[in-house]
Symmetry: C2
Subunit: 399 residues, 2 copies
């Protein structure tokens, strides 16, 4: 068995090719990963613009004149803006272009209007309430870098530069196959107590979708070699990553581990010194990847996060699918093995720091998916780690 660190290095060294991109409408781009640098094609604003409601004036006129004649008004969006000469002003509103000749905006609140003139009661500094050319950005500035996940601010900035269509990374297609004769799909009627309701397919679909992939449910296939082989072939043919659960352990009916090499796939590794999920297997056939996970719910979830998520992220042009943060143990932790352990924990933020505890978390087999409910993280302990005292700084995968 290789170490966790070695397995992660091997994953990061896999050649995934270039990020594949597509053009989509801006209103569909929320949450997608940008596949191009967004560069400003002009200064913004491109002209001096009023930042308040008031009167466009020459700054020096505040001292030079008792009152300034109102030449007219300049609503936002007006085509003709006019000009201001010494001794005069133009009423100018938020978002309006500044009239030629004016350098300063005196706010409405600072003047008294008498007939057709204004009297300035509270002068302002030169350039007051005028947005200078390029206040927001300059032509040629990289506004949003390739690889950025598009959030509300990115969407707004793209709209502001009139980008109707955006280049984003294509969503990798992730096939999900559950193997095991005991697995019963949701909605199906149980025939006897030996059947287990499928949760893996739905947990992994949700994870894949959250990470930006497109999941393809390939259903459940029983412990039958020919059927497994056929389903894998179909999945490899249609998808970029094939994720399977079950069939990788040491049991007589664990066929997946034997079938994957027979599909002509090269096994990158099989077996990692981790808990849970030591039997995980990663293989490659051409540009396609097969990630075969154990069948227990907690094991399959954790190993998906450790091995399928980085592949999805890299296909999208994203470096890391999850943040790994430092947190402080609130309670002692008893390490149970000499493996790298990934333990479900409560992750809370108090007094400016993240804290880890295990209240409500059950110890037992790797089947306990409920341990990942709530504000859960995955605490990482290294192979060499022993028991940890309260107060120890630990690394946690933020989910």
């Amino acid at each position: 068995m290789i170490s966790y660190e070695t397995s992660q290095n091997m994953i990061s060294l896999l050649g995934l090719g270039d990020v594949r991109s597509e053009r989509i409408f801006l209103t569909h781009a929320l949450g997608r990963i940008l596949a191009e640098d967004i560069v400003a094609d002009s200064d913004y604003p491109s002209h001096p613009t009023s930042a308040m409601d008031g009167y466009a004036i020459l700054h020096s006129d505040q001292e030079a004149y008792e009152s300034l004649e109102i030449l007219g008004d300049n609503p936002a969006g007006a085509d003709e803006v006019g000009g201001v000469m010494s001794g005069a002003c133009i009423k100018t509103f938020t978002g309006s272009l500044m009239p030629k000749g004016a350098d300063t905006l005196i706010p409405i609140e600072n003047v008294r209007v008498e007939g057709s003139v204004i009297i300035i009661e509270k002068p302002v500094p030169n350039g007051f309430a005028v947005r200078p050319v390029g206040e927001s950005y300059r032509e040629g500035e990289v506004l949003i870098a390739k690889g950025t996940k598009l959030g509300f601010a990115q969407i707004g900035v793209l709209a502001g530069i009139n980008r109707v269509m955006v280049h984003v990374a294509q969503r990798p297609r992730v096939a999900i196959i559950a193997t095991g004769s005991e697995i019963l799909d949701i909605g199906e009627v149980a025939r006897h107590a030996g059947q287990i309701r499928s949760s893996n397919s739905y947990t992994l679909q949700a994870l894949a979708n959250q990470l930006g992939a497109q999941s393809v449910q390939m259903g459940i296939v029983g412990d039958d070699k020919a059927a497994i082989m056929e389903r894998f072939e179909e999945a490899i043919h249609s998808c970029d990553i094939v994720v399977s659960t079950g069939g990788v352990s040491v049991g007589d009916y664990d066929f997946v581990k034997h079938i994957v090499p027979k599909l002509g796939a090269e096994v990158i590794f099989k077996g990692v010194n981790i808990k849970p999920g030591q039997h995980v297997m990663v293989a490659q056939r051409g540009s396609k990847f097969i990630v075969s996970l154990p069948g227990f719910a907690y094991s399959s979830t954790v190993t998906f996060i450790l091995y399928a998520a980085p592949l999805i992220a890299r296909m999208l042009g994203v470096e890391n699918p999850y943040d790994v943060i430092e947190a402080t143990l609130k309670v002692p932790f008893a390490k149970r093995s000499n493996k790298s352990e990934f333990t479900a924990c409560n992750l809370t933020f108090e007094e400016g720091r993240y804290w880890v505890d295990f209240e409500g978390k059950k110890t037992g087999s790797s089947a306990i998916l409920t341990n990942l409910l709530g504000d859960a993280g995955l605490m990482i302990c290294g192979e060499e780690d022993g028991d940890l005292e309260a107060g120890t700084l630990v690394r946690v995968i933020k989910l």
Copy 2:
């Protein structure tokens, strides 16, 4: 003008009625808000189940016998499981029900098989590798509470209890209206320099969608009283929350602030001592809410976060739309007003703490949306705060 704190209290006191729910398919439920408590309707597992591949035995037989006779095997999902008596064992695989009479699973790695018997080379404790009844959860246990956002683990747990349909909160409908004769929609050809490309509608749509609302684009309406009135009526009629941008300041063409009361809406407040966005207005007509925001891009975004987001969250049965965290100022901060200020900052996590700095952030008008790009947060300064020194603990809205 009321204070920020008063405005937030007023928002939290608005009567929004009960959360409205709907039933949706589990595979559409990712990211939705649960509108019911999910209670386990049976113990899980319901029978003792094997957690490894091995042989089901009586624990006491490990000492009592030299070898144990293999009675047969028990693949996962088998209907008939059989029973084990003293001196015998049944080969049993991960996920299989334990045969009657057996209390312990001896793993394959711990035995030597000789013909039709096993010889135990490394004994295990009583109950080893057996998942007891209720290991994951007990009948009647609340697994997921109402108001929880459904993530991958919740989806998996719901699948595991065979919940095909789930009760979730209906997505509130949020109408978005941009007002201003200067506003040009994306894709439209500019006729002159006085026009401003719309970003607000798209920023706010993305925010609303991220928060779990359903956004309805009502388009751009010029500074025309009758047109604004008509568009607002249509929006109120069809949506739960109407968000508008522009028209609330002190300019001659700021019609929204006059029109909202004429629609028969009760103004909850108009004007809050905040920066940016002091002219924000919140009104109510029956069960509908109108949130009128300023027109500048940064102002409208911040005030949406402060005033529209809590309404959306509460309609979904969620307490807070955003986390407010403590962070440490890396650099001094010069406060510019005696208002509550919301300043775009870089929020980083290093050495176990969150840090705030303003590198790359531009000072200037409230039009600078690009300040919210990157890993941005909104630093909150109170009315009473003055300039802040580096090292000060500040509160930040995590976006």
